[in-house]
């Protein structure tokens, strides 16, 4: 295994880390206005992610930095090519990032209503756009000889992109619901159980739809270069989602969340397997595609970054474990809560 393949796997792991850790933040945000009926319940739901969302968001920053350093051409061509879509995501993230703190500072009903709507819309928007962007990359983007492309915001909103968006949207909402099953009690938890089931079903339907239309839009996904593994990983997705459906109504608070993580592992692995060894396929000519070799940094950069990751990532897991432990499994509100 060479450094380029290793870095491809590491970037997939970071995307997985982001989807698992920050995915439920967006899911919980997107659910806020539906699952919580009054201000007290809303605060309860927000405090389920309150102490941890900021740390989780760093996975996104890390992902950006890792792609920039390891595959600079991918970073340059995707971000500039998807210009307005990227900017839209950035604006949503900005308004999500300030929402919890700002909301808690003022008690007036209008102020809180504004931020509730903000939290819900930004959560849904980010969850949707992620899948749209990824489906478009899988389909291939019009990279020219210089690996430069340009896609307008509206050209990204094609059928395949939207189905991809439905996958990520239902996946994050499912993930957020199962997270709330784990973190809450009482009525909110009951509602989270039925939402988890519903979104798991939606996730399965969207995934099957995606697989059915893939031969038309992204034939490369079927003829993936890794053979058997490529056929197994989408099954993991479905097993995870079925697990959520079966356990969401049970007495277990943790199992649905664990199955949801399994579904996300399956989804990210399917994505990685489906696209390897390319990272951004060109729809103009496969020779113009960006792959793990022609888009990568030189050997020393990849090596230095690998060493940094080996030292740094365990530290991150230690900090995160400590923080999650300190706030306990179930949300308990006190005077320093949001």
């Amino acid at each position: 295994m060479n450094l380029n393949i290793l870095w491809f796997i590491l970037v997939a792991v970071i995307i997985l880390g982001w989807s698992v850790m920050d995915g439920f933040d967006y899911g919980v945000g997107g659910l806020l206005n539906f699952i919580a009926k009054n201000d007290e319940e809303k605060r309860y739901v927000i405090n389920a992610i309150g102490p941890v969302w900021d740390g989780n968001q760093v996975w996104l920053i890390l992902g950006g930095g890792a792609v920039f350093a390891a595959f600079p051409l991918v970073y340059a061509s995707i971000f500039s090519g998807f210009y307005l879509a990227m900017m839209l995501v950035v604006w949503l993230i900005i308004f999500r990032a300030v929402s919890f703190e700002f909301r808690s500072k003022v008690e007036s009903a209008g102020w809180r209503k504004f931020w509730d709507a903000d939290i819900t819309v930004t959560g849904l928007g980010i969850a949707l756009l992620l899948g749209v962007a990824i489906a478009n990359i899988l389909m291939g983007v019009p990279l020219n000889k210089e690996h430069v492309d340009y896609q307008s915001l509206f050209s990204l909103l094609n059928i395949f992109g939207l189905v991809g968006g439905l996958i990520s949207l239902s996946m994050f909402l499912m993930h957020g619901s199962t997270y709330l099953i784990m973190k809450t009690e009482g009525e909110v938890q009951q509602r989270a159980r039925s939402y988890a089931k519903g979104f798991a079903i939606a996730f399965i339907i969207a995934t099957l739809l995606f697989l059915i239309i893939s031969p038309i839009f992204a034939p490369r996904l079927l003829g993936n270069s890794l053979g058997l593994i490529g056929d197994i990983v989408p099954v993991i997705m479905l097993i995870g989602a079925i697990g959520v459906i079966l356990t969401a109504g049970s007495s277990s608070d943790i199992k649905p969340f664990a199955y949801s993580i399994l579904a996300i592992i399956g989804a990210v692995a399917s994505l990685a397997v489906g696209i390897f060894p390319d990272i951004v396929p060109s729809s103009i000519n496969t020779k113009y595609s960006l792959n793990i070799y022609n888009s990568a940094s030189n050997h020393l950069t990849l090596l230095v970054m690998l060493i940094a990751t080996i030292i740094g990532l365990p530290l991150v897991l230690i900090y995160a474990t400590y923080a999650y432990k300190k706030f306990g499994l179930k949300v308990k509100m006190d005077d320093s809560s949001y």
Binding site: N47, P51, V52, W53, D54, G55, V58, I61, L62, G64, G65, A66, V67, F68, A69, A70, P72, L73, A76, I78, F79, S80, Y83, L84, M86, M87, V90, W91, I93, I94, F95, A97, V98, E101, F102, K105, V106, V148, Y150, S297, N298, L300, T301, V304, M305, A308, T309, G312, L315, V316, Y319, Y322, A323, K326, F327, D334, D335, S336, S337, Y338
Partner: protein, 467 residues
């Protein structure tokens, strides 16, 4: 490349960087002050220090989230607007950004949740350690971001590969590039300086209303002691930083000092109206020989003027294929000159204000001097202006390069992004950032007003626990 799109991309980068940097200095500096005040509480069990910490932590939180929100775009903007730059230097420039996320930003962001929401969940000591990790993490973030920025000023640890693209040859040479140490110390001290003025100004505001407020008296004391050390030290550090510019960025130095032609016994110009068209300064006041002394510790030393510096760079970088530099490619010299000079004058003002405050504090007159309290309140945000002017000097002074001597700004911008796209995003950023700043100011004021109206720093359970 369309020159309008280039201009818009530059406006967008400048504006988003400007707005972003309104916040991190307070995160870094107030973080340190909170470590000091909370540490004092932990070791003396003096409740007043807990109250200082709890109150300023509320302001810290507001500032922190806006800093995080405005920082996100900085991570992606190199790719969206500066794709050519990213492809060219990503292999080198990307690594400090990734390492920043991994080693610093995670630490800071995970523990900020513990610190702000965990007052009742941790022992006093464990909470203090969380505060330390937030302050340490944010400072470490500064380290890696400034590694990336200083590398753009004085690139090192790389070699131009056979494809014409630089590749990293030595990671530590890249990290400890010549400009890094002084830029880092100067920036971090600027953050501490602003935060000391911030805490002093806020405390002074409360003391103007009620000078028997023992909590704010203690806060002011801490702020003045830290402030006087940092403000005096900063003058020295600034001087060292400028000497690095002399060595490595002659065009920037010439613009900072409005020196058009090389000169022995060069004066330190204090006032000038530099004009690029006439290549002269108009009326000008200066201290004779001083620039030569400051630059080379020798009054007879020759300091390179802008014209000579341009020739020097052209000759030095003749192997690179970017177009030969001409004066027309450089920014208006007055912007760099005045950014630098106003920042410098502010630096002396800050040291003076803090020295007077310290004198009054020692004489036990500070809390009874409404004039001095008003001056401190008036000065609360002035260091922020100085900080931004410092960045104007550094970043505009680096032009027409993005990476000094290696890559020009014209060759850095995304070729595939249209005027309409960038125009739209610039307009949105103006709107969004104006909204965010207004919200932040509104919430700051609200916190101050609520405390002035008697709502305590400690409420509910923590007040019970504290009493």
């Amino acid at each position: 490349m369309d020159s309008t799109a280039l201009l818009l991309a530059r406006i967008q980068f400048g504006m988003t960087a400007f707005f972003h940097f309104l916040y991190p200095p307070l995160t870094i500096g107030l973080g340190l002050l909170l470590v000091i005040t909370e540490g004092t509480y932990v070791f003396t069990n003096n409740q007043e220090y807990l109250r200082i910490t709890r109150f300023f932590a509320k302001l810290f939180a507001i500032n922190f989230v806006v800093g995080v929100a405005t920082g996100i775009v900085m991570e992606f903007q190199f790719g969206t607007n500066w794709a050519q730059y990213s492809s060219f230097v990503g292999a080198i420039f990307g690594s400090p950004l990734a390492i920043e996320g991994l080693f610093a930003f995670f630490m800071e962001s995970i523990f900020v949740g513990v610190m702000l929401l965990g007052w009742n969940r941790l022992s006093a000591k464990a909470h203090w350690i969380s505060t330390i990790l937030v302050a340490f993490g944010s400072t470490l973030s500064g380290v890696w971001i400034l590694v990336a920025n200083s590398w753009m000023q004085t690139p090192a640890g790389y070699k131009i590969g056979s494809n014409g693209i630089p590749k990293m040859t030595n990671f530590w040479h890249m990290v400890f590039n010549p400009y890094f140490p002084s830029e880092f110390i100067h920036t971090i001290m600027g953050a501490w300086e602003y935060s000391a003025f911030f805490m002093a100004g806020v405390a002074a505001w409360f003391l103007i209303k009620n000078n028997k407020d023992m909590v704010m008296r203690k806060a002011l004391k801490v702020a003045v002691i830290v402030g006087v050390i940092v403000a005096c030290g900063q003058i020295l550090v600034g001087d060292i930083g400028a000497r690095e510019v002399v060595k490595y960025q002659p065009t920037k130095l010439a613009m900072m000092e409005a020196l058009w032609h090389s000169q022995k016994y060069a004066p330190e110009t204090l006032f000038a109206l530099p004009n690029n068209a006439t290549e002269s300064n108009g009326p000008q006041i200066g201290i004779p020989d001083m620039l030569s002394i400051l630059s080379y510790l020798n009054p007879a030393a020759k300091v390179m003027g802008l014209n000579a510096a341009i020739k020097y760079i052209n000759k030095k970088d003749s192997k690179l294929d970017h177009t030969k530099l001409t004066l027309a490619m450089f920014p208006p010299v007055w912007i760099v000159f005045w950014s630098f000079h106003i920042m410098m004058y502010f630096g002396f003002y800050f040291a003076l204000v803090m020295l007077i405050a310290l004198y009054l504090l020692i004489k036990d007159k500070l809390f009874d001097s409404p004039k001095m309290l008003k001056l401190l309140w008036f000065s609360t945000f002035l260091p922020l202006i100085a900080i931004e002017l410092g960045w104007f000097t550094t970043e505009i002074g680096r032009q027409p390069f993005t990476v000094y001597g290696l890559l020009t700004t014209v060759d850095s911008v995304s070729k595939n992004v249209s005027v309409l796209d960038v125009g739209l995003s610039v307009a949105m950023f103006v709107l969004i950032y104006m909204t965010l700043v207004s919200f932040a100011v509104y919430l700051f004021k609200r916190e101050l007003r609520e405390r002035a109206e008697g709502k305590d720093e400690l409420s509910g359970e923590s007040a019970k626990a504290a009493n």
